[in-house]
């Protein structure tokens, strides 16, 4: 076949999709051997070659001294106490023995999100507390041959760990690494390792609205830790930077990614510590209503209903947003109903309805409906029930209208019946007059 290369090039270029991101980065330098790249990378990134000479994996260690500040507090202040309430956040881990002996924070950077055998975790970072400092250890692959030593080293780190802490690791980091171990036909060291995913806990404590999804680690480190990154590499740029680094052999391109990963680990440790502190100190210690609301949920799940009620009540009084307050009051009302303290439940619902503005939110409508139910079935105050049902009717549209109308119809019948009974009850009196 004539001009194979020419035809191949034509086909490849024809099919090429637009690159999504093309950051302005140094262009390929020539003449570097692979070993040159390895040793230069070790120099610039401040690491060393893992294992024997010529291995395609670097290990980079950084130590964050205890008195160094990360945000408004020192690194030392984020050290987890062995009696921190882990089980409150993750009931399954409640009886994990000695979990604090070596808590390892874990975060990976990958060559894509699509999954599949061709995406790799080219950078794996672990962080843990030592006597006087927080240590971050990272392994960086310089090519496919670097993955095996990386996985071996990571496996040893996992074997030493007593608890793994991640941010969204339940769905991403850990399953991702499991496929890499499977790829290399290795057993999975994370299998029996207790794992605490901080993301769900963070959502409970710091998500301001029910639909709030901006609970990213970088958002949390600003709001919870008061830490602001400068010159951080945005997440979407990370794979492209790595590819560029492989192509050019220029380690400065990837340096920022390592720094990004390190900051993620320090912030993860710090955010975790703050969450545990809040939980230990209790709702009075919280700065914000959303934290109190989140704690209330956790206490309730744990079965500590009194403490949960206290947290919800505090959240309701502290909240200055209508939505957050309504959420706290609704939780409070439901909890008190569960505790069979119906009058207090009614108080909470009543407060929601009293402070509601038209049009009602879903919570406010539910509150009015709860009051209608309460008055119809429990208080047997049909007139009040009808009044609340009519409020609900005025704030309802669509498919639910039929349900409300059904309730109103039933109430009207009952009221009619009551009136007839009342008439009968009154009649003899009239007669006797």
């Amino acid at each position: 076949m004539k001009n194979l290369a020419k035809r191949l090039r034509a086909i490849v270029r024809d099919n090429r999709r637009e690159l999504t991101v093309e950051p302005d980065l140094p262009q390929p330098g020539g003449g570097l051997t692979f070993n040159d790249v390895v040793s230069r990378s070790a120099d610039v990134l401040g690491g060393s070659v893992l294992g024997q000479e010529g291995s395609a994996c670097l290990v980079v260690d950084r130590v964050y001294d205890a008195d160094r500040y990360h945000g408004s507090r020192t690194v030392e202040s984020y050290r987890l106490s062995p009696d921190a309430p882990l089980g409150l956040f993750e009931p399954k881990l409640a009886s994990t023995p000695e979990w604090a002996s070596r808590t390892v924070f874990f975060d990976i950077e990958t060559t894509g999100l699509s999954g599949g055998a061709g995406t790799v975790a080219f950078l794996v970072g672990c962080g843990w507390y030592e006597a006087e400092a927080f240590r971050v250890r990272q392994w960086l692959m310089l090519g496919p041959a670097g993955e095996r030593p990386l996985l071996d080293a990571l496996g040893r780190a996992m074997d030493d760990a007593s608890l793994l802490v991640t941010f969204n690791g339940r769905t991403f980091d850990v399953p991702f690494m499991e496929t890499r171990w499977a790829f290399h036909r290795q057993s999975t060291p994370t299998d029996d390792l207790p794992h605490f995913d901080m993301l769900p806990a963070a959502r409970r404590l710091w998500s301001r609205r029910e639909d709030d999804t901006s609970c990213s680690l970088t958002a949390l480190e600003r709001s919870v830790l008061g830490f602001h990154r400068v010159g951080d590499v945005p997440g979407f740029e990370i794979p492209v930077r790595y590819f560029q680094f492989l192509r050019t052999g220029e380690p400065s391109i990837i340096d920022g990614v390592l720094e990004h990963n390190r900051l993620d680990l320090v912030s993860l440790a710090a955010v975790t510590a703050r969450a545990f502190q809040l939980a230990s100190e209790g709702p009075t210690w919280c700065r914000e209503a959303c934290e109190q609301l989140g704690l209330g949920h956790l206490y309730e799940r744990q079965g500590d209903l009194e403490r949960a009620a206290e947290a919800f009540a505090l959240a309701a009084s502290r909240a200055d947003e209508r939505d957050l307050r309504a959420r706290a009051l609704e939780r409070l009302a439901l909890l008190r109903r569960r505790m069979r303290r119906f009058d207090e439940a009614v108080d909470a619902w009543q407060t929601i309805v009293d402070r509601a503005k038209r049009p009602f939110s879903a919570i406010e409508r539910r509150a009015a409906e709860a009051l209608a139910i309460h008055h119809e079935h429990r208080a047997h105050d049909l007139a009040s029930a009808q009044r609340y049902a009519e409020v609900v009717r005025g704030q309802t549209s669509g498919r639910r209208v039929a349900d409300v109308d059904h309730r109103l119809g039933r109430l009207a019948k009952k009221l009619e019946l009551e009136k007839q009974k009342g008439d009968l009850a009154v009649a003899p009196l009239l007669d006797s007059e």
Partner: protein, 788 residues
């Protein structure tokens, strides 16, 4: 309008069939005695019943498996089954060629279940060309696994894994399945790219089953060959070397195809030991209604007549049509003929690709249960989907290949009892050739199934996928071409990067997503009915969309007519609305070919050559330029329209003939007649070529350069060129063989033209006179004489 009689019971079927055939048999007798040179029934062959040949169960088979077979009433094997099992269990790849209903599934189920019984970690992967076939096999395997379980065989997990498998079930299947039933598409995009999750399967993969091997020809086969190259790499990585067990319908080159697809040597088992009932094979040629124009009665009308003959006798039939359009037309005709009372279940159904899966399953069930009496189908039902044993196959038009004809005929017929297959010839040249030369069909070898795994478009796409799955080393090979050169080019475009002695995938994309195995692009169009709100009623592939979904096109689905109101090309949607009309539409397309690289040896050596024949690389630009409106039943052309649709382009290979200027000059005809002659010659050559290549007619495209436009009707060059090209981007390997058969092609073309009984051209030789002009036949014949 007739009311359809009830389905006759099994005992009376032979008799009903004889009655239905009697008229055709009588006509044939008469034709043999008389000297009608254009008989209506051109051939009747009675295929004798065949006795079974048996063999005992091999001693090596697990007794629990043998016991399970005995419970199903299988006390011994057919000879071909025993042979195939012996090869497989000895670790030799094997391909078994078997007719329909000869127990081919046992050839692979036995070794697979046997291996699982002997070692429960054993895994097997079954590949079927369609999801529906996998579903069919699932039921059978479940039953066998259950019987084996009763014999103390433990639990054998059998699961389908395809695009319909729910996400939450996938994890469980990966862990628990001993046998995974899938298709090449799923292996390509769902299994291989995620091989770490399938580590258990790949570590223990002992058998790979490829059913319906003959379906993997052309583009699809070329893709499969590359998928299996990738599969081999992954298996090597996990330390397994699976054995292939393939089954194929009758084709000329089953062993060669199996070896090309699997990339490994294969044993061939081709003597079937299965019994077969008596079968009649009949060729019907619709009579000429206009001798001067060579126009025959519409083959669709003839098919309708033949089909009704069988339906009236209470038989269950399948009608195969050549295209989606003719499927719909025939469905309409037959529904009209047997419209039951309003609201009654439909006894006549259409079936083709593009119907949504639920509708298809419903029709298949109806056929098995007997509530559907007649199905009109495209090749979609040619493969082994279980529709039960029907009584009669009627083929509207020659299916294009001998292999496909036998395959379709095989959809009717049981192991005992009588069945029939009737082929109704259309006026296409290839049909007429077959109808007039029945021996060609009955005596010739069936076709070769060609694949070209090294088609660069296809190969390169799979090299990307392979690089994603496992890094290539700098010494690794992949197929026959130089993969290191490809990786170098892929690295220039930043798909991979050399790191140490391995090529690492350095791209964020998921390369399998960019490849569609069934065509060269993965795009399709959906059809949205606006009659009552918006409703998706079907889909069609990208390449055929412009010709079937252009604005004002009549789109037909199960006899329902819709008119296309708007084609949203960018969003791949066609909006249609139900209409009542008495015509359908037929698109007019136009292709322009540019030569990129002449690879004929003379041209390569740089000599100036007077050779007519060439082959090489070409660029083809095709476009749908307009459409005709054609009336149902009469086929009158009742109008036309122009269209402005985007071009489609491809780089492919072609064979071409350039007629020298002096030859054209010397022709004793006028300019317009010369042009007609060249077009007529091209038309005939293009129709003979598939016979010589033993390929499907759709595999080839035709373009004639230098003949001007329809209006101008003059030659625009002194030396016109006839291109017959591979109708797939990248080419599929027909051009060079055609170049080698050049002399034979011209000789056969001359036979066709000179042997045709028409006076001055007809659709069966140089094209209909109305389209090619009065002297086309004469000029073409003259040209051929000179060129040979």
């Amino acid at each position: 309008m007739t009311v359809l009689p009830a389905l006759v019971d099994a005992k009376s079927k032979d008799e009903s069939l004889s009655l239905a055939l009697s008229r055709m048999l009588a006509e044939h007798e008469q034709a043999l005695q008389g000297d009608d040179d254009d008989p209506h029934v051109t051939a009747v062959r009675r295929l004798d019943p065949v006795e079974a040949r048996y063999a005992p169960f091999p001693d090596s088979l697990d007794p629990r498996l043998i016991a399970a077979f005995r419970k199903r009433g299988i006390d011994q094997l057919y000879s071909h089954q025993a042979e195939a099992i012996a090869h497989a269990t000895a670790g030799r790849n094997v391909v078994t060629v078997t007719p329909t209903a000869s127990g081919k599934t046992l050839c692979y189920n036995a070794p697979v279940i046997d291996a699982i019984l002997k070692d429960s970690s054993t895994r097997a992967l079954y590949l079927f060309p369609t999801k529906a076939l996998a579903q069919d096999q699932l039921a059978e395997l479940h039953q066998l696994a259950e019987l084996v379980g009763f014999e103390g065989g433990g639990e054998i997990g059998v699961f389908t894994y395809d695009g319909d498998t729910p996400q939450d079930a996938r994890r469980a299947i990966r862990g628990r399945a001993h046998v995974v039933l899938s298709n090449p598409d799923m292996v390509h995009s769902g299994i291989l790219p995620h091989h770490p999750r399938w580590a258990k399967l790949f570590e223990n993969l002992q058998y790979i089953i490829i059913d319906e091997l003959h379906a993997y020809r052309g583009v699809f086969g070329s893709h499969l060959a590359n998928i299996l190259r990738r599969l081999h790499r992954v298996c090597r990585h996990y330390g397994s070397t699976p054995v292939f067990i393939c089954s194929s319908a009758t084709i000329a080159n089953p062993k060669d195809l199996a070896e090309k697809l699997t990339g490994a040597p294969c044993e061939l088992v081709e003597q079937s030991g299965a019994p077969r009932g008596e079968k009649y094979f009949i060729f019907v040629n619709p009579p000429v209604v206009n001798a001067q124009l060579g126009i025959r009665r519409s083959y669709l009308a003839e098919t309708r007549r033949v089909a009704i003959e069988f339906l009236k006798r209470g038989l269950q039939i399948i009608v195969f049509a050549q295209s989606r359009l003719s499927t719909e037309i025939l469905t309409t005709y037959l529904k009209d003929a047997f419209a039951g009372p309003p609201g009654a279940a439909e006894v006549v159904r259409g079936y083709r690709g593009g119907y949504l899966p639920l509708r298809r399953r419903e029709i298949e069930r109806g056929l098995r249960e007997g509530s559907v009496r007649c199905v009109v189908s495209t090749s979609a039902l040619e493969l082994g989907i279980d529709i039960g044993a029907l009584d009669v196959t009627v083929m509207a038009g020659y299916p294009g290949t001998i292999a496909a004809t036998w395959q379709r005929a095989g959809r009717a017929g049981r192991r005992s009892g009588r069945s029939a297959a009737v082929l109704v010839a259309s006026s296409a040249p290839i049909d007429q050739f077959v109808a007039r030369n029945p021996d060609y069909f009955f005596d010739a070898s069936p076709e070769h199934a060609l694949v070209n795994p090294d088609n660069l478009h296809i190969l390169l796409a799979h090299v990307k996928c392979a690089a994603f799955e496992l890094p290539f080393t700098t010494t690794e090979t992949f197929g026959t071409l130089n993969v290191q050169e490809m990786l170098q080019i892929l690295s220039e475009e930043q798909f991979v990067q050399l790191a140490g002695d391995q090529w690492q995938w350095t791209h964020e994309s998921y390369p399998a997503d960019a490849v569609s195995l069934r065509s060269v692009t993965s795009d399709n169009f959906i059809i949205v009915d606006l009659t009552h709100g918006e409703r998706v009623i079907g889909e069609t592939d990208f390449t055929s969309a412009p010709s079937v979904l252009h604005e004002k096109a009549i789109y037909i689905i199960e006899g329902q007519l819709y008119q296309v109101e708007r084609l949203d090309f960018d969003n791949r949607k066609a909006f249609v609305r139900g209409v009542e009309c008495d015509y359908y539409t037929d698109a007019i397309d136009y292709a322009k070919v540019t030569i990129l690289d002449d690879m004929s040896s003379e041209a390569i050596s740089g000599e100036i050559t007077s050779e007519l024949k060439h082959h090489g690389e070409v660029h083809v630009v095709s476009r749908v330029v307009g459409f005709k409106k054609i009336k149902f039943y009469t086929n009158e052309n009742i109008g036309s329209g122009e269209l402005d649709l985007p071009e489609q382009q491809m780089h492919t290979s072609s064979y071409w003939v350039t007629i020298p200027a002096e030859t054209m000059e010397a022709l004793p005809f006028g300019g317009a007649d010369k042009r007609d002659g060249v077009l007529g010659l091209a038309f005939a050559m293009r129709n003979v070529a598939p016979l010589l290549l033993m390929c499907d007619s759709h595999d080839l495209g035709l373009s004639v350069d230098g003949v001007g436009t329809d209006e101008a009707k003059t030659l625009t060059t002194v030396a016109p060129t006839i291109f017959i090209y591979d109708n797939y981007p990248g080419g599929i390997g027909f051009s060079e063989p055609l170049f080698q058969m050049h002399a034979d092609l011209l000789a056969r073309t001359q036979e066709l033209i000179d042997g045709c009984p028409c006076q001055s051209g007809c659709p069966s030789c140089v094209g209909p006179e109305g389209a090619t002009g009065p002297l086309a036949k004469a000029v073409a014949s003259h040209l051929l004489a000179v060129l040979r």
